[in-house]
Symmetry: C2
């Protein structure tokens, strides 16, 4: 678990170059390079831009670590629902 | 990243035996076995009980996946602050 949480952090810090926020362009790159297997439309900059606006609670045009964690939570929720639904189908 | 998010999910589902919530005892075990390196007092059942109550937004005495993600986000936030502070010390 520790390494999983570290991966989530280092992925953010790698894209934000150690800073506390991701710019629009670094968020686009992170989504495209890291989350392509977890989401659709990661190659569509307009779709990613729309997602960024949805996450941008303080409307500063950037993605803070907290807003990024909201995205990770959303992805984890989706994946876990698919897993629990998968279990119900096979049980 | 995909495997990191999967680890976070499978750790929950492993402890909840595929269910949508963790009971008090399974939450105690998860914290003790998985998060010992990330937090203090994971061996203190009263400290873990207090943490569980802090997470239990709907007061049902259980920990849902969403409430569990709140804990993961909290841990990730702490770790990332230590990392960014660490960078500032050395730069």
């Amino acid at each position: 678990m520790e390494s999983a949480i570290k991966t989530i952090i280092t992925t953010f810090l790698g894209s934000s170059k150690g800073g506390e926020n991701l710019s629009g362009s670094s968020f686009q790159k992170l989504v495209k390079n890291q989350l392509g297997g977890l989401m659709e439309d990661t190659n569509s900059s307009s779709a990613v831009k729309e997602m960024q606006q949805g996450l941008d609670e303080n409307n500063d045009g950037k993605v803070s670590f907290q807003e990024y964690l909201t995205l990770i939570g959303y992805l984890a929720n989706n994946m876990s629902q698919r897993k629990t639904e998968g279990n119900q189908d096979t049980s």
